[in-house]
């Protein structure tokens, strides 16, 4: 715009106020919905965080103090734990990129065989709780008794195998848990990409390979960057796998360090102080994302989608196929194999022979004298509810951020993202404290799970819906208004149907991560509000891995089933996850 800048002439205050009021009155339903959504999200996120800050700023006797922060930051090992967390999260991000990008490109843009199978398999990797992946990998790559190391020793005579009890081992487990995030984000972006860019590159003489890789990947860079930040932050906030592997390998991550502050004796105020720096990483991530995606234009869902022609990469398709299969074998098949195998044994550790096989571990899921049927019910209800609440809230908030010029949108974006990497266990303290007294005495009820999980997982829905809205041309919505539909009608009749695939993807992601959520549930659950991960955790704690494995298999099956149902409802073409 080659406009002339004027010093903004201040309009009389009462006129401005009148104008704003008139806007609000004219679109009163929109105003109510938006105020409600912002209020709910603000409350969900800021209230527990405020409690944690407050907790971190007071001594045990209630006096205001900075001592907790001083204690935490002078605590020996905190700095090294932080360094470990950064190194491991960075390693996980890089490894995830190396794994996920070729697979996503191959699945989206090439003639590689087995694409649908690979998409489904990667989803399984995603829904597997990372503490389960960790246990599976301990059974697979324990230095002495890990199945892989035994195999290597007995067949190839490799004396000293690779140990999962190491930083590398932790990176491996986290990578196998989180690479699907990059895979799905980049595959979806590539699917939506205008293929003419690639064709142009080919016209310019690039080979099909080079053209597609060299042109497509930079074009979907915003998706790659934002999902990489996701992986980094998820790895920062992960607890299950670091706890299972870190101790054994004599190192701490920030989350295991924070966890230690919760016990012997519990020092919640220190834990609160220790958790707050993670917010800095979230802010950094947001800034990075903004920098990386700020100037690029997103692909727009136009009225006429172009069907991308798959790139024929000759022998390369088999190389990529083999690579994808190897990744899936390691990240899905092996852990799943270990889980299923264990779940069928009458007692884990027994040899896998006929007389040791049983279905009793699965039968227990229907045994009403145990917590299991209730846990399954709770898990389904909480996950589906949380996913639904998150998606609806995200739709309104994203609209507000992407489609209006209201001041404070950057702040709102921050609020919508801040809980992402926040360690669940620390956040849970805020919820326990914040919801213990009337009128908010929800601690001990299942309702607090909805509230806490929504607050913790909202960023997922927010990001996915936001990507969808960014790709949606505003004119489609404006056409609705011009046809005479109110804002609300347009949202329901035009935006929602067009954003279906993005919203479904968001719903799935939140459902899957909530289904496996453990770190918050550990503090929030009381008798009667157990979820499946809690049941798994208890079984592991109890040493009955066979039961833990059976519940895990069912949890994974439920995730797959829900994806299948969603696909059926949405129509295959609409679902790219």
């Amino acid at each position: 715009m080659t406009g002339v800048t004027f010093p903004t002439k201040a309009r009389p205050l009462h006129l401005r106020a009148l104008a704003i009021f008139e806007d609000l009155r004219q679109e009163w339903l929109r105003t109510i919905i938006m105020v409600a959504a912002v209020g709910i999200v603000g409350w969900l996120v800021l209230y527990p965080l405020a409690i944690l800050f407050n907790l971190g700023l007071h001594s045990r006797t209630g006096a205001f103090t900075f001592d907790n922060y001083i204690t935490v930051f002078s605590e020996p090992g905190l700095v090294s734990a932080l360094v470990n967390s950064i190194v491991i999260s960075a390693g996980t991000t890089v490894a995830s990129l190396l794994i996920a990008l070729p697979m996503a490109w191959a699945v989206s843009r090439t003639t590689m065989p087995g694409k649908q199978f690979i998409r489904l398999a990667v989803l399984i990797a995603f829904v597997m709780p990372n503490f389960i992946t960790a246990i599976a990998w301990i059974l697979l790559a324990g230095p002495n008794a890990g199945l892989l190391n035994v195999f290597m020793r007995e067949v190839f005579g490799v004396a000293k195998g690779w140990s999962v009890f190491s930083r590398g081992g932790l990176i491996l487990v986290l990578t196998f848990s989180f690479y699907p995030l990059i895979f799905f984000a980049s595959a979806a972006a590539l699917d939506n990409m205008d293929p003419s860019y690639e064709e142009a590159a080919q016209m310019a003489g690039a080979s099909a390979w080079r053209g597609s890789l060299g042109i497509s990947l930079p074009l979907v860079m915003p998706a790659i960057v934002s999902s990489s930040i996701f992986v980094f932050l998820e790895a920062m906030g992960a607890f299950g796998a670091p706890a299972a592997i870190g101790n054994a390998a004599y190192f701490h991550t920030l989350t295991t360090k924070i966890y230690e502050l919760f016990s012997y004796p519990p020092r919640f105020e220190l834990a609160a102080a220790a958790a707050t720096p993670i917010i800095a990483f979230t802010v950094l991530g947001l800034m990075l994302q903004r920098y990386a995606t700020g100037r690029r234009r997103f692909n727009v869902i136009s009225a006429k989608p172009k069907v991308a022609r798959a790139v024929d990469i000759g022998i390369g398709r088999w190389i990529l196929f083999a690579f994808s299969m190897l990744v899936i074998f390691a990240s899905v098949a092996l852990p799943l194999f270990v889980l299923v195998r264990t779940s069928l044994l009458s007692r884990w550790g027994l040899p896998f022979t006929w007389q040791n096989l049983t279905f009793k571990n699965y039968a227990a899921l229907f045994d009403t004298s145990t917590i299991l049927p209730r846990a399954v019910g709770n898990s389904l209800m909480v996950s589906a509810g949380t996913a639904s609440i998150c998606v609806v809230l995200a739709l309104v908030i994203v609209w507000l951020i992407e489609r209006t010029k209201l001041p404070g949108r950057a702040l709102l974006t921050f609020i919508c993202t801040v809980t992402f990497a926040f360690p669940g266990i620390a956040l849970a303290v805020g919820f326990v404290l914040g919801y213990r007294e009337p009128p908010l005495a929800l601690y001990g009820t299942i309702w607090l799970f909805f509230i806490a999980f929504t607050a913790h997982r909202f960023p997922f829905a927010f990001q996915f819906v936001r990507n969808g809205v960014k790709q949606l041309s505003t004119e489609l919505e404006e056409a609705g208004r011009m046809s005479g539909a109110s804002w609300t009608r347009t949202l329901v009749d035009i935006s929602v149907p067009l954003l279906k695939s993005g919203m479904m993807a968001a719903w799935m992601m939140v459902f899957a991560v909530t289904l496996r959520e453990l770190s918050m549930a550990v503090l929030l659950n009381v008798r009667g509000t157990e979820t499946m991960p809690i049941a798994i955790f208890n079984f592991v704690d109890n040493g009955t891995f066979e039961s833990a494995a059976a519940v895990s298999v069912v949890l994974i099956a439920m995730s797959i089933l829900s994806v299948a149902i969603l696909r059926r409802i949405a129509g295959k073409a609409q679902m790219e996850v």
């Binding site: 059974l139 009381v526 955790f537």
Partner: protein, 350 residues
Amino acid sequence: MRHRLGTLLLGILTLPIGLTHEALAQATVPTMDELYQAAKAEGAVDFGGAVKEDAAQELLQAFSKKYPGIKVSYTRRSTEPMVQLIEADRLANKVSFDLINLTEPADMVRYKTEGFVQPVPLPDRDVLLPGTYDPDNYYYALGITPMYGIYNTASLKKAEAPTSLKALVSDPKWIGKVAISRPSRGGTGAAALLNVVDAVGVDFLKNVKERDILLTRGNEAAVSSVISGERPVSWGVSGYRALEAKAAGSPIELIYWDEGTAIAQFMGAVPTKANHPNAGKLLLRWLMTKEGQELHVKAADFYSPRKDVELAPRNEPPLSKLKINLFGNDRLLKTGQELSSEFDKAVGLK
């Protein structure tokens, strides 16, 4: 709100100190029948502890039979998650349990000083082994268990298995062969470590990192590591878990150390603000009777702190035949914690 929590904490801290001794001197111990009537009026009892689920159910069924009309429930957590659960409850000003059961002496002592648990005088306290109860009656060991060494029978023949702690922590052949529950994560692990230090001297901690000991989260994971063969030996795991695993057919065998085997205690106490305090007291006192203890031994694979219960779990020798090292809570609390902390420092976890 934080302020209110603070005053609450202060109140709790100051209250019991004045009460402790005089209150006890004057307190008359109610009969079981009086307690039962009061408990029946409360109608329910919620037990939370580390005892295995099926064992706890067995015990509670027997209790229900003897004292009908009280609805029983049980929530199982090992000590670390149990303490978290209790602490979350406390943050929320709630009490979930009428009887709690923990292995961590530090937490029990803290709960006593903070007034979170209340004294429950026993009429026949004299029959208990010294050191297995709080002199002020705030907590009692519901069961005691040896921290057996265990080894994997598939990896080691009986003759190859270690018998001396000294050899285990100094002989190079055991480097990279030992798994234990990380001592700073619970009282049982600390007791086992204390036992090792008593046997071989504190200097071994200096080079403990080179021993390449696998540290697990909790006893069960240590037992699991030995069962899977990941590490063929442990210097001490909770006995009841080892016995249960062995009985279930897992390839492990117990080791009674030449230097003596540590004893860990599983302490029970009744929270001051329990929802059903009388029912909690009734359950605790019944569990501490000879009848309750014999059942506890049979169901939960524990030894009994009662001198008049000769019964041993799973046909193991009676306690009197074993070379055991029973540490009082004071020593466990002070030295045990210090050593655990030293251990963490030595391996780089602190």
